[in-house]
Symmetry: D2
């Protein structure tokens, strides 16, 4: 699969950086910008579980912190170790809705190279956004 030959190796590298001592569920993310840069993301857990931050959001805030803007992203790839690829949690979908194009692809993978693809919009239908605030 051409997908696998492009980002699979990279996202599996990102996953190695996960700090997940509480769940032992390591997640990696690989965010590609439209101008060709990439950002790793890994989940960063906390003894106070709600203070953890997921891999997808880690990659997105890394990119914004480096100067990227909403809309600058081409795709995000996520990986886990599980029988089938996991999807981003609702919070990560909400952050994607804010920062990414609605039709940006989200590639969900696992250690076997299985892959599910969906757009941001498909993952958060009727999504809440800044337009709703006014």
């Amino acid at each position: 699969m051409s997908y696998q030959s492009h980002y699979f190796k990279e996202v599996r590298e990102a996953q190695k950086n996960a700090y997940a001592p509480y769940s032992n569920f390591k997640v990696g993310a690989y965010l590609k910008t439209k101008d060709g840069r990439c950002f790793y993301g890994a989940n960063v857990e906390n003894a106070a579980y709600p203070m953890g931050i997921c891999a997808e959001r880690s990659s997105l805030v890394s990119a914004i912190s480096e100067g990227y803007q909403p809309g600058d992203f081409e795709s995000i790839t996520v990986t886990v170790d599980a029988d089938k690829p996991s999807s981003p949690c609702g919070a990560c979908r909400q952050v994607m809705m804010e920062l990414c194009d609605k039709d940006m692809p989200v590639y969900m993978t696992n250690q076997n190279g299985d892959m599910i693809e969906a757009t941001v919009d498909e993952l958060l239908p009727l999504g809440f956004s800044g337009k709703d605030l006014n």
Copy 2:
């Protein structure tokens, strides 16, 4: 509309309790349990914006704190003041996925009584859940 005659008044009451000094965007939620009890929810904002909690989640944690269990809920109604009803944010969808039946209806309303209905599953397709953790 029969919907309006049932929960519209109630959720508008819940909304009045919103503590939203930062966004001025007041949200109300009305959670109905299968055994007939109801819980109000209101958004509770914070000067540190990420520490706010949405109306939907407020109602759900209120119910759990009172002894209700995942699966005990019949419906949730949400209301805002806006031209069209707003949908729950991704975080609230994730909490609904954990605590509610997948086919539980979510009623989204506004001050005019406009209404959009969707199930938990429709709002979080390919939803991440405990099964993904193994």
Copy 3:
């Protein structure tokens, strides 16, 4: 101890409502209002760990959702099962800073009735608040 005779039994009841299938770390909170009402709080975990909500915050958003206002609270008692009482996480301290008087007492307990007491201000020194935003 007089403390124990007042709220210990109550907060241990609240703790029973915890939904903590991921950590098995059940936390209970008992929030007392100045006009004599009380609200139970229990931690409500999520398969997506960061979407969990702690017991302390559960009790506070329950009270606000029922119409209480910032400043209406007299004390909060928290309990865990551990060798020594645990303190609230940083997020809960931040929410207390927003909603409670700075000198409101926070009682931290465990199953043995051990107790540590601190004020909101002591738990979040140099606390960030709405005043910092303007």
Copy 4:
């Protein structure tokens, strides 16, 4: 002040990357590792306010995602535009407690170069940590 000559310029650069369309309160963070690397952090807000992520946490998850480990950090500097330096919110303090040495310095600054210094431990006294879970 020697402090200003070292990290002030850098953290003010990081602040420029803040995505804060809702609060207009831009925050920058500059995280220094013990082996000499640095990571920018900026606050990344969301229309769903609770889904925002603060500057301090942005810098920390960026570093972990790049392979750094808890304990690898030398200092963090934070900046805001305000009459006096703001302190990190409770959530950021909790994440620092998890990932940083307890005596790591946190430098809080503003546009005027005013500075307040505190350690992680001082900012989260009686801090909740992984030890509390067992």
